[in-house]
Amino acid sequence: MNALTQYIELFKAHRSTIEANAPAALNERRTEALDVLEKCGRLPQRGDEGYEITSLNDMFAPDYGINIARIKFPDDELSTFRCELPSVTRAWSMLVNDHFVAAPGLEQSLPEGVEVMSLRRAAELYPGMIYGDKLPVDNPVVALNTLFVQDGVFIRIRRGVHFDTPIQILNVFNSATPMLAARRIRVVVEEGAHASVLICEHPRVADVDYLSCRVVDVTVARDAQLDFYDLEEATARSRRASVFACDQHQESRLNMSNIFLDGGMTRNDYCIRYSGDHATTRLGGLVIGGREQSIDNSVDIAHSTQHCSSNQLFKYALFDQSKGAFGGMVNVEAGARYTDARQSNRNLLASPEARMHAMPQLIINCDEVKASHGATTGQLDERALFYMRSRGIPEAEARMMLINAFMTDVLDHVQLEPLRERLRHLVDKRLRGCNSTCNTCSLEKLK
């Protein structure tokens, strides 16, 4: 069955409703997106190059509803919702499905030069700023998102402003029926500015299917820095197809960490492009997979400018029947001299049925480069385990400590200490939760 057709038909049938409920700037690119999708013919399936475990076709196939008429959902969320990361920041807002809801007092908590608002409003205030120059419009997820997007979050840090408090966006899903949310998050960090953004994905209901079709579109201008944290703690019935695209200008710095703790099926694409020299990129990924989860991270970095460095570190610990995939394409184009590209993918298979696919790839067309990648898949170090046990540490505890230790260097990338500690705590809790609640992945049984 071709899942794409239903979306194209849906769009064609309801285009006027979609566009009537969205600002002009978001409507502008729908025709182009439709073209892309019609040319694709179908969505990628398992077995297509780069899609070893994920079938976007299957992911998009169920009959999800899309709230194109923008029927209002009750947003009592703010009063009842508790995030796992409560104390980190006051500067927060929510995306309920794809609807932007500001936290009370959000504006007051933001200093001058820092703006967090709905994408709808931004489309009216700054229509020229709502698309990044390097957004991969050919990507089918980006195109599908573009077809249906009506709202999202817009974050702008003006020139030279340093804002240390992380700006937190809670992605909440709330619906009684299966639903697709086309979310878009646009982040603009202007010249010399410095900000951090934390996105948490949480379900509101655990017994409904939903699909988050998400695009994060980032521009980091000259000498600016963005620290971006993406925490996924969803439900078994959630699906996520996300594209994180970043355009980095001269001497810009991007630190991105993705932490997957819970969910159903996830595909994250990272698309890093450069518009200037001397930029640095650090991508971190931490995955704790369990049950029948499927977690697929695919990185595409194209070095086209000089003196840039990229560093990727993705680590997976897979329990139960979970499946992990990592695809890492580093393309150093001719002329991208003095590029320093590093990539590391380390995986722990912690159950007999877990499975890991790794495809680290290097395409190098320039000789003045340093490029390396490494991928390992294995188990905990038996010698370390015995050493710890011989000092009296019980085996289960020793395994836990070793898995935590295995993950630790990804979290070291998190710049903000309180956030780092919270995340450590969450990872630890996730591992212990896994230990105490589900029989099938009890750590004592692991070999």
Partner: protein, 489 residues
């Protein structure tokens, strides 16, 4: 940086360029009277080849099945290669040095042909005398001479052309042919299965260690032909053999197709070492001519504790597409792949291996060294797969790329699929430019840059070169130097 400072750097780059523009020394054509069938491929051509070789019915059937399957396939496009359209109807599928009868001794072999192999540095005469090696020489489509056959026969070792094997040992050939590489495997495997002309057959009986290196030299001589040889090696329980393969072709400005199949079966506790020095004509500096080398090589470690080791030094061919692979089925079986691939000028190589871990406690090692110069493209593509049953599987992969120019490409595409939690799979890859510090250090000690490049590259490739049998190692080392240097003899 001011002008004066940049000059030495440019100078050294020029020297590297000069040093990396070596020419092909095996590019001569031998004037041998050759029987070539008309170009084109059809069922009739398949029947004609089979008839010319006087083959039994079952083999003709095999060919026809393969041909019919081939018709349903399209040429693969997925490799990181830019392959020009190949007109499969413009190739002659069979060329045979014309002779009255099969040569009974070297005296009867066409003197021109002997000369060809002598110029290749393979003296059949000498080889016959020296017991260090047994050589099977394949010119165009036909095995022209196999040395040391009698001596080997005393030990029960069969080493002959596959055509002879079909006549003399039909049961063995029938049992193993296509058992590792099915004609359904891929486009070129189907093509080869339909039209294969000759190649070597090796059978080492139970418990026998082959006392000498077995070697085949492949040579494409005739114009407008393709070469489709087929090699089948069977090592029975506790047997051991080391097999060497060398390839050259004349310098022509047309592309020629080489689509071979190598099948290896390794039984309980047996060991096969397969070494290749591939030096097909690579085309000229502008990329005119050269061999398209599309080869399917695979070994099945069927027996417990069996071992298969591939070593390849790839310096030739306009386009190389090959992945010598190991299917590790037997418990505790071991697969190894050691590769040096050098590309220069407009050459393209997409090579690597597949290690399929099926049996328990299977182990594999992959060491790949890519060296790219000129405008060439050099890719490593590999698959390490551990199926759920393969408990205790272990793989270590190291692939390094060395870049000698800023116009070449070095790419790494490993696929790692682990489905067993007791497996340990490690992959490390690095890409770097040849070190200017090292070149300077050599210069300072009086070693000219082109020699230094050769030294450094050989050092870089040493880990793999050490795996080659002595006789080949020296030759391969020279070849690396020649491919990259201006010291063509």
């Amino acid at each position: 940086m001011n002008q004066d400072n940049t000059r030495p750097e440019n100078q050294s780059e020029d020297i590297i360029k000069g040093a990396t523009s070596g020419e092909y020394k095996y590019g001569f054509v031998s004037d041998i009277d050759t029987d070539i069938i008309p170009v084109g491929l059809s069922e009739d051509v398949v029947r004609l080849i089979s008839a010319k070789k006087g083959e039994p019915e079952w083999l003709l059937d095999f060919r026809l099945k393969a041909y019919r399957h081939w018709l349903t396939l399209e040429m693969p496009r997925w490799a990181h290669l830019d392959i020009p359209e190949i007109d499969f109807q413009a190739i002659s599928y069979y060329a045979e040095p014309r002779k009255k009868e099969g040569p009974k001794s070297l005296d009867e072999v066409d003197p021109q042909l002997l000369d060809t192999f002598n110029r290749l540095g393979i003296s059949l005469e000498e080889q016959k005398q020296l017991s260090g090696m047994a050589v099977d020489a394949v010119l165009d489509s036909v095995s022209v001479h196999t040395t040391n056959k009698e001596k080997l026969a005393k030990m029960g070792i069969i080493f002959c052309s596959i055509s002879e094997a079909v006549k003399d040992y039909p049961d063995l050939v029938r049992k193993y042919l296509g058992s590792v590489v099915s004609y359904r495997d891929n486009f070129f495997a189907a093509l080869n299965s339909a039209v294969f002309s000759d190649g070597s057959f090796v059978y080492i009986p139970k418990g026998v260690r082959c006392p000498m290196e077995l070697s085949t030299y492949f040579r494409i001589n005739a114009a407008g032909t393709g070469q489709f040889e087929r090699t089948l090696i069977v090592a029975d329980d506790d047997a051991y053999v080391s097999y060497l393969e060398g390839c050259t072709a004349p310098q022509r400005d047309e592309n020629q197709l080489h689509a071979a199949i190598v099948e290896i079966v390794v039984e309980d506790r047996a060991e096969v070492k397969y070494s290749t020095v591939q030096n097909w004509y690579a085309g000229d500096a502008e990329g005119r001519g050269g061999i398209f080398n599309f080869v399917t090589k695979r070994g099945l470690c069927r027996g417990d504790y069996s071992k298969l080791s591939w070593t390849q030094v790839e310096t030739g061919s306009a386009i190389t597409w090959k992945y010598p692979s190991c299917v590790l089925k037997g418990e505790g079986s071991v697969g190894e792949f050691y590769s040096v691939a050098v590309t220069n000028n407009r050459q393209q190589a997409d090579t690597g291996t597949k290690m399929i871990h099926i049996g328990r406690n299977t182990r594999s090692t992959i060491v790949s060294k890519g060296i790219s110069a000129g405008h060439s493209e050099n890719a490593y593509r590999g698959l390490v797969k551990v199926v759920p049953a393969a408990s205790g599987a272990r793989n270590y992969t190291q692939c390094d790329s060395l870049l000698l120019s800023d116009t070449c490409g070095a790419h790494t595409f490993p696929y790692i699929d682990v489905q067993n939690d007791t497996a340990i799979v490690e992959h490390e890859a690095t890409t770097s430019k040849i070190s200017e510090d090292q070149i300077f250090y050599c210069n300072q000690r009086g070693i000219p840059t082109e020699e230094a490049v050769g030294l450094i590259v050989n050092g870089y490739a040493k880990e793999v070169m050490n795996k080659l049998p002595m006789e080949f190692a020296v030759e391969a080392q020279k070849l690396l130097q020649i491919t990259l240097e201006n010291s063509v003899g």
